[in-house]
Chain length 391, copies 2
Amino acid sequence: MFSFNYTSAKPNRARLGILTTPHGVVETPAFIFCATKAAMKSLSAEDMHTADTQIILSNTYHLMLQPGSEVIEKMGGLQKFTGWHGPMLTDSGGFQIFSLGHGSVASEIKGKRMTSRKKTLLRISEEGARFRSYLNGREYLLTPEESIRIQRQLGADLIVVLDECTPYHVDKSYTAESMEMSHRWALRSLAEFKRSDIGAQQLYGIIQGGVYPDLRKQSCDFVNSHSFFGHAVGGSLGASKDQMHEVVSLATEHLCRDRPIHLLGIGGISDIFSGVEQGIDTFDCVHPTRLARHGGALVRPMHNPDEMREHINLRNSQYRLDDSPIEPDCSCATCKNYSRAYIHHLLKAQEFLAYTLISTHNVAFMNRLMTAIRVALKEETFFQVKKAWSR
Amino acid sequence: MFSFNYTSAKPNRARLGILTTPHGVVETPAFIFCATKAAMKSLSAEDMHTADTQIILSNTYHLMLQPGSEVIEKMGGLQKFTGWHGPMLTDSGGFQIFSLGHGSVASEIKGKRMTSRKKTLLRISEEGARFRSYLNGREYLLTPEESIRIQRQLGADLIVVLDECTPYHVDKSYTAESMEMSHRWALRSLAEFKRSDIGAQQLYGIIQGGVYPDLRKQSCDFVNSHSFFGHAVGGSLGASKDQMHEVVSLATEHLCRDRPIHLLGIGGISDIFSGVEQGIDTFDCVHPTRLARHGGALVRPMHNPDEMREHINLRNSQYRLDDSPIEPDCSCATCKNYSRAYIHHLLKAQEFLAYTLISTHNVAFMNRLMTAIRVALKEETFFQVKKAWSR
């Protein structure tokens, strides 16, 4: 039911893959869209399908709290519940627990500034992570075994081990100890996964080790030596793009090549090109839909007067009378029928339709980007395509 | 380019019509959906098309303030701007000016309680209505001529004369004086319409007169005697369903039969049946999409345990594990792919997709209702169909 096959490509460690799941095939490199609460923001399953989407993910943390994994299990699992009948992945729940818990570790992991936010993480111990629900304050304990049990109920094709997500600012000794605990959690996850395995799901291990090359190598050796179906690069990727590229390069250098490699939480266009070059097979990020909620539409450099950005902001008054589509040569459902001027009006008028129309374009854009990358790898035109799509 | 043809049907004054416009044909009785700010709430033009929609309307008041009628004219008119290429109607702007101005006359006209709200109506005079923009406080004067000029720029197929909308609580002498001024405004609207007529639009006159039979008859005689393409029943329809049915019956009794008759702002299912019986050809109301934003899904009585309502509220916890669609025998895009349990979850999780999915159903429901009514008129099964669809 599951397989991953690849052929090596140029440049560097780039490759073309076929990831087969019970719900369909994913051609890699691919982008995985975030349907956080079992729903894409402002888009239906049909919209995602029309935009040529291959695979989406949902977040265990949000779903275990609302509606509860047992509800989704009773409703036949995520695919039946959401109406999205293609391949799916769930994460372990860890990222959000630690993210909300440390006061936005999401930014911290990416090396950005600390923000103050109500802390919901109560205690991390060998047993697991104790936290409060962001919805009602109820206390939960998420253990590696419980994360697997919940992800079994949710029923996505690809599931992920629980790990501790360390922020960027912690020192090497904390990072090392945390990584070792995450490895022990990974073994407990794997044991629970094997105990309940009926062949309907596959498990990804996570590489930790922060920005420290020796720890990253140690973590790669660890996941390589255990029977995970795939690997995900997690933890802090540093404070700069360069540092991120180094960490990713280090990971893909050491990871065994016969398993798919996922890069967690990265969705910038130039970052995707450098990830692909280093051998990353799949990416995920909330960026395409979050950007849409702020009026941002992804465009290639040829359509963008702003040399610092990978998007245009349709809230800007320059689009008030612009009757061209977001991208004149885009064939998405939005660009076929709607102008920048109309979307500008919808944003100003606070019509929800604005978010649907921009999200439709951004999702189609990301899928078109990944298709262009796969074609470039086949035709050995990676750098020309990279230049056409990113700064 | 424009025509209206009808055949009489049973019961009472009911009829089947064909309303032809440059953007397509509307089979009547029909429901006109409100795309207030040149957008259906949470639905795209394609969604409306897929749900078998025949005609939509936009509100002159909202569009003259944002983005401005000159923007829509420059962008090629409402149909090109919105991507909805079918028939459209705009109202005159009057209803919202008086509605916001009197402190929610919308409720008042329908006989409901007064609410306190910031008043934006500054002065009603023979010249027109002076008001402040609800967006930025800027002062505007809307005259009958200006309303026609703006509706020319917006470019809908069917446009409407400016009238004063009197609340329910005003007395007969105010209602009579107001009606007479509205008649003078209607003549000025008609003169301006004729002055700028190139055959691309048609004008509706409005019947006023509140709940007073002699005034209503006088207003019917007035519109009958002038060259309006169609007639709309406006003003206060009373404080109860019975009073509304009386007012509507009185109007359709006196109106000439060769023009289409629109009933302004009415969208309840049983009200539509009684309107059709009395000879109403088209209805409009924000109800289907407003209801959706509160979690309400329209269902026929056979699917509704609540005998007092024409909808079910999907927020209710009874739907948490209900894996049936909103209506098992509905073929809309929502009922084909999504369960009540999923929509219940989306509402609880405050996902915009909830509003899109319910609105999709509610719009398809209204279109299916109107089709059922037309078939019933053809097959003389009106009362059986009425019983199957309404309490």
